[in-house]
């Protein structure tokens, strides 16, 4: 009974005490401590606002001069808040999920999403900037830098501090396919986000005061695994040709910087700099980065594979082609037109790249409800595939229906970049190829044409060669660079490339030499991050990536 007042006291006062008094208390305590610890008055920076001539320079110097004597950084203030990070946060392994999430966190999360997101609601579209209400879901589409629609999404804005990282967080809920997610992520990166290191969201959450003490201690322990992790991260994914390329690019940047800056500091003591070799070298480096970025596409193919849709009128031998190519009896083949009603998939491997063949219902106007759905699906598949194989029969030649079908496919694709198409003239065993002169009149509609016979297997190697060429794979030099560029390296290369492109335009616009150093520095920094020479956050993020903390 006697304890009751105490409990009541606690219940009444505790929440308020803890939530309000403590944070306020903590700062003065720190201040006092630091005053006690030092025998001298602390140097402080001026508290005055230094007004800059240009308004744009206004913020530069002093308004954040909370230097000495101002206590420690309060927990609400985010620490690593300089950049905005983005990543696909749902699993990409296993079968594609219905929904996948791209998450952004950082001070520009809202403005970056504003650049890629077009709300469906007209009311919301009116303002110049996207200004979301925290924790209110919006529906719309994501567009790439050219304005093409990539995916329809739900956007969940969670403005700081009421978010996982205490920064502004925006989640884009996309369709779950890997291609969709990568495209959305790429759009965000192009709009200015940086790809998140593994575990970086958790790291930010921690550094911004989100996780509890025991978790904080785990973090401390994990750090002691640092040396091991450094070695791991330095090795992971950065081996062989790629690392030496990056090293040499970086060394080149540093070399050029040295050349230029030496002139700036020791003007009269150095022979004049010859600009043409410098410009050539910069062009050369840009080319190398471009080449490396091309392999990034190859890398994506290795991971997610190619989707190839086989389309055509009924009964031109699409299913036979699938069976012949996949050396299986996946699809039912009959003489009856319209046998295939649904999409039939077969997985094959073309020169090591996973390829999914999609056999579709023959596209025609039909009254059969089931077949009608099949036709609709065929068209949908044709829209999303990486390569379309338009199959015709050599015996019948190019018919009016084929023409219509081609139009139909092309019309569905309008707006987005065109999918490469291959014209497959099947049943070549039944008709001599000399009869197929009409093929040449269609060369503008297709990237390639191939003669095949699904029955004999004739022409299948030609078909594979055509696919390889279309996917850009033959541009990868055989040997020499058997390395691949992963998403992160790709992002760094993109940054390097941006710097080089700016540099090139500086040169073309005859901007003074000093400005060249700005972008050279940036390129060197970006390259440094890939090769693990500047692995600051990388190491830690690897730790966070390897060990699941805080979730």
């Amino acid at each position: 009974m006697a304890l009751q007042p105490a409990f009541r006291f606690l219940l009444r006062h505790l929440p308020a005490t803890i939530s309000s008094i403590f944070p306020k208390l903590s700062i003065p305590v720190h201040r006092k401590l630091s005053i006690l610890n030092s025998s001298s008055p602390k140097p402080i920076s001026p508290t005055t606002q230094i007004t800059w001539r240009a308004a744009k320079e206004n913020k530069l110097v002093s308004d954040k001069d909370e230097r000495f004597g101002n206590g420690t950084v309060s927990s609400a203030e985010s620490v690593v808040n300089s950049s905005t990070i983005a990543a696909i946060v749902t699993s990409l392994c296993g079968p594609p999920a219905a929904v996948g999430i791209v998450r952004l966190s950082g001070p520009s999360a809202v403005s970056i999403v504003g650049r890629v997101f077009r709300p469906a609601s007209k009311k919301k579209r009116r303002g110049p900037d996207w200004s979301p209400v925290s924790h209110v879901v919006e529906y719309g589409v994501v567009v790439d830098s050219h304005g093409n629609v990539i995916d329809e999404v739900l956007v969940v804005p969670m403005l700081g501090p009421k978010s996982y990282t205490r920064e502004d967080v925006v989640e884009l809920q996309c369709h779950g396919s890997e291609v969709c997610l990568h495209r959305v992520l790429r759009a965000c990166l192009d709009a200015g986000a940086r790809i998140a290191e593994p575990g970086e969201f958790t790291l930010r959450a921690f550094l911004n005061g989100r996780l509890d003490l025991s978790q904080a201690e785990n973090v401390g322990k994990l750090i002691s695994a640092k040396s091991v992790a450094v070695a791991d991260s330095a090795l992971a994914g950065i081996q062989g040709g790629f690392s030496s390329l990056v090293k040499s690019l970086r060394a080149q940047c540093i070399k050029l910087l040295t050349e230029i800056e030496a002139r700036l500091d020791f003007d009269d003591e150095m022979p004049p700099l010859e600009l043409n070799p410098v410009i050539d070298e910069i062009r050369g480096m840009l080319q190398e980065v471009d080449d490396a970025l091309e392999t990034a596409d190859y890398d994506k193919l290795l991971q997610s594979g190619l989707q190839i849709a086989i389309v055509g009128r009924p009964n031109v031998g699409k299913s036979s082609l699938l069976n012949a190519w996949s050396k299986s009896e996946r699809a039912i083949v009959t003489e009856i037109a319209g046998t295939t009603r649904d999409i039939v998939e077969a997985n094959i491997s073309v020169r090591g790249i996973p390829v999914t063949l999609l056999d579709t219902a023959g596209i025609r106007d039909t009254d059969d409800i089931v077949e009608k759905i099949g036709v609709e699906r065929s068209e949908a598949v044709a829209t999303s595939a990486d390569v379309i194989l338009m199959t015709v029969s050599a015996t019948e030649g190019w018919t009016l229906e084929d023409e219509k079908l081609l139009e139909r496919i092309q019309c569905n694709k309008s707006g987005s970049s065109s999918t490469p198409g291959v014209l497959v003239i099947n049943k070549i065993d039944c008709a001599p190829s000399s009869l197929c002169d009409w093929v040449n009149t269609l060369s503008s509609s297709f990237n390639k044409h191939v003669f095949t016979s699904a029955v004999s297997g004739q022409g299948i190697p030609d078909l594979e060669a055509a696919i390889i060429e279309l996917a850009g794979l033959n541009r990868i030099p055989t040997g020499g660079r058997k390395w691949t560029v992963n998403q992160r390296q790709c992002e760094q290369l993109v940054r390097t490339r941006e710097a080089f492109i700016r540099l090139k335009s500086s040169i073309e616009e005859e901007i003074p030499l000093d400005f060249w150093t700005i972008d050279l520095r940036e390129a060197a920094l970006a390259l440094g991050q890939i090769s693990g020479e500047d692995i600051s956050e990388e190491v830690l993020s690897n730790i966070f990536g390897k060990f699941c903390i805080g979730k």
């Binding site: 006697a2 007042p5 105490a6 006291f9 606690l10 505790l14 005490t17 008094i21 403590f22 208390l25 903590s26 610890n37 025998s39 008055p41 140097p43 402080i44 920076s45 001026p46 005055t48 230094i50 007004t51 001539r53 240009a54 744009k56 320079e57 530069l60 110097v61 954040k64 909370e66 230097r67 950084v73 927990s75 620490v79 690593v80 950049s83 550094l207 005061g209 003490l213 904080a216 201690e217 973090v219 750090i223 002691s224 640092k226 450094v230 700036l264 500091d265 020791f266 003007d267 009269d268 616009e509 901007i511 003074p512 030499l513 000093d514 400005f515 700005i518 520095r521 692995i535 600051s536």
Partner: protein, 612 residues
């Protein structure tokens, strides 16, 4: 001015402008005493454009002395200081001189130059001296060592001086000053043009190289009796010849040291050769065949105190009120000394007055960059300011030093009403002009034609003047020429306008990056961190951080031997500590509330037991 009486040059000129913007003297005196002025790097970008002045060393010294002697409330006392008087709380109380006099002061600034245990070398011969003809100071180093300061030695040198009356200039390439003279000071009262003198260019010859190669064993470095190498940016002539064998000739500049002095400075020709070889060596240079030498080249060795022992206010960490400034911190150069001088001077005065000390952050100025490098990095050669030392140099331009620092100078009382008005007026003029250029449009005409020609870009109808100024190679002058300029603006004002408009894109981008960097790096580090206890830091980082004790994360990041991984580890430790402290306080508060409550509870029954 014991070395070349030149002021400015890349990065150094920015220091001079900055000191002037804060209300310092070096720029004004250099403007008043110049013999020749030139702008270097003129076409290489506004951030590296640098004014360099050759000054009259005698006039400079006397002008400076005059300023010191005429400053109100400043009393002067000359003596050799041998001891620092330290109070009970490790605070400075004053100094004690060689003859046993005590002088008391709440703040003391040590600016020992090359005098502290100084020793000058000519060839193998040496004598104790601060500089030629002036004696060294002894005793202070030992005293400071006893107080726990770490000391080390540095070496620098100066070339021979020749009598200009014995030099035949007729065959030498003259180097004239600029026709349009530029100024260090933002105060137009000091912009007084005067007649300029010429510098001359000569070159080393085959016989120079031969003479040096034949006598390498007589030089300290190659003879092997001096280990310490001179600064890399100031190589001796023997170094140049040995290291760049394929170069047949090196440039040598002959620079006058005054209007009324015969001395000629032989730039690029410092040497460690003995005196008997120096005259023959000089005489191998074209134009100097019959020269007479006034003073031989010599090297000077002196004590300095690695500046990680100082705070960025330049107050020492060990002794409150004691400030180090100039070569004692391991720098070289008048401009570097002036930059530290103004900071240590300001702070010594503020310390005496019980005010808070001023810190110029790295990204605000070259002064800030200089001091941050000094207090953070492990420097093993005399530190000279270079443009490449600043990551943010696009902001740290000579044209905006006043905008960066004059308001601060005003705040601390160094900028008087007159200067402040000049500053405000200039700012307003520039702002107004930029607005005018933004809103004034032209279509066709002579101006458009000339701009098309100069920039090789078409000019659209009704283009703003601003957009014209953004085009390559278009300068404000063209607007002036066609009557679109603004006569109210000075040449400097126009330059500011031009830079702001022309490079706006770059400046904005850099500003964003800088902002990000500042957000990340200005996080404070507590003073009492025990780095040795942080097992997640590398051993080297623990050692270096304990030594430097950085103030901020950014400074920690710049300490040599601290890897980015160490910095992240440090961030994590800080955050963990903060949480732990928070938890503890919470726990304490809880227990004290509990205790209070228990007391309340236990007190009442107690009374009851007592009362009956």
């Amino acid at each position: 001015m014991p070395c070349n009486p030149a002021v400015g040059g890349p990065a150094k000129s920015q220091l001079v402008h900055e000191v002037d913007a804060l209300g310092g003297e070096i720029g004004k005196v250099a403007d008043r005493c110049y013999l020749q002025k030139r702008v270097l790097n003129i076409s290489r970008g506004p951030a590296v454009r640098a004014l360099r002045a050759q000054t009259d060393k005698r006039e400079y010294a006397s002008e400076m002395k005059k300023i010191v002697e005429s400053t109100p409330n400043l009393s002067i006392r000359e003596a050799m200081v041998t001891d620092i008087l330290v109070g009970k709380n490790d605070n400075v109380e004053g100094v004690c001189t060689f003859f046993g006099m005590n002088f008391y002061a709440p703040s003391v600034v040590l600016t020992t130059g090359t005098f502290m245990s100084g020793k000058i070398w000519v060839g193998k011969a040496s004598m104790p001296a601060g500089r030629a003809g002036e004696s060294a100071s002894h005793g202070l180093t030992e005293n400071l060592q006893q107080l726990g300061f770490e000391t080390d030695r540095l070496k620098t040198g100066t070339p021979a001086r020749v009598d200009c009356r014995t030099v035949d200039f007729s065959g030498l390439e003259p180097q004239h000053g600029d026709e349009e003279v530029n100024w260090f000071s933002y105060d137009p009262d000091y912009h007084l043009e005067r007649e300029q003198m010429c510098c001359y260019l000569t070159r080393t010859t085959k016989s120079t190289h031969q003479l040096i190669k034949d006598n390498l064993h007589e030089t300290p470095t190659y003879g092997g009796w001096v280990e310490a190498k001179g600064p890399r940016y100031c190589p001796s002539i023997e170094d140049k010849i040995v290291r760049f064998q394929d170069k047949e000739s090196h440039q040598i500049f002959l620079e006058p040291e005054g209007r009324s002095v015969p001395e000629l400075y032989v730039q690029g020709f410092s040497t460690g050769l003995p005196e008997r070889l120096q005259l023959p060596l000089l005489r191998t240079l074209p134009g100097l065949e019959n020269c007479s030498m006034l003073r031989p080249a010599y090297a000077v060795e002196y004590d300095y105190f690695p500046a990680h022992q100082c705070l960025p206010s330049l107050m020492t960490k060990k002794i409150e009120g004691l400030f180090f400034s100039g070569q004692i911190n391991g720098t070289t150069g008048y401009e570097e000394a002036a930059a530290q001088g103004i900071v240590s001077g300001i702070n010594a005065a503020r310390h005496s007055a019980g005010k808070s000390l001023i810190v110029l952050e790295r990204e605000t100025s070259y002064i800030g960059t200089l001091i941050d490098d000094l207090v953070t990095k492990d420097l093993r050669e005399p530190y000279r300011m270079l443009t490449s030392r600043s990551e943010h140099r696009l902001f740290l331009r000579s044209d905006n030093a006043d905008n960066r620092l004059t308001p601060l100078g005003r705040d601390i009382g160094l900028i008087d009403d007159r200067r402040w008005k000049i500053y405000l007026d200039k700012k307003a003029r520039i702002l107004e002009e930029k607005q005018r250029l933004k809103t004034t449009r032209i279509s066709g005409g002579d101006l458009a034609a000339e701009i098309t020609e100069v920039s090789r870009q078409p000019v659209r109808d009704s283009s703003t003047l601003e957009s014209l100024l953004k085009k390559p190679h278009v300068q404000y002058k063209i607007l002036d020429k066609h009557g679109f300029g603004n006569n109210l603006l000075s040449r400097m004002d126009k330059e500011c306008v031009e830079i702001d408009i022309k490079y706006e894109g770059f400046i904005v981008r850099q500003q964003n990056q800088l902002q990000q960097m500042v957000n990340r790096q200005h996080r404070q580090l507590p003073d009492d961190l025990d780095y040795y206890a942080m097992t997640t830091l590398s051993h080297e980082a623990r050692e270096k951080l304990s030594k430097v004790r950085p103030r901020t994360i950014g400074q920690a990041r710049r300490v040599g031997g601290v890897s980015p991984a160490d910095v992240t580890a440090l961030l994590i430790i800080l955050e963990s500590n903060r949480r732990r402290a928070h938890e503890e306080r919470k726990h304490q508060m809880l227990t004290s509330i509990m205790a209070d409550a228990n007391q309340e509870v236990s007190e009442s029954p107690l009374k009851e037991t007592i009362s009956p």
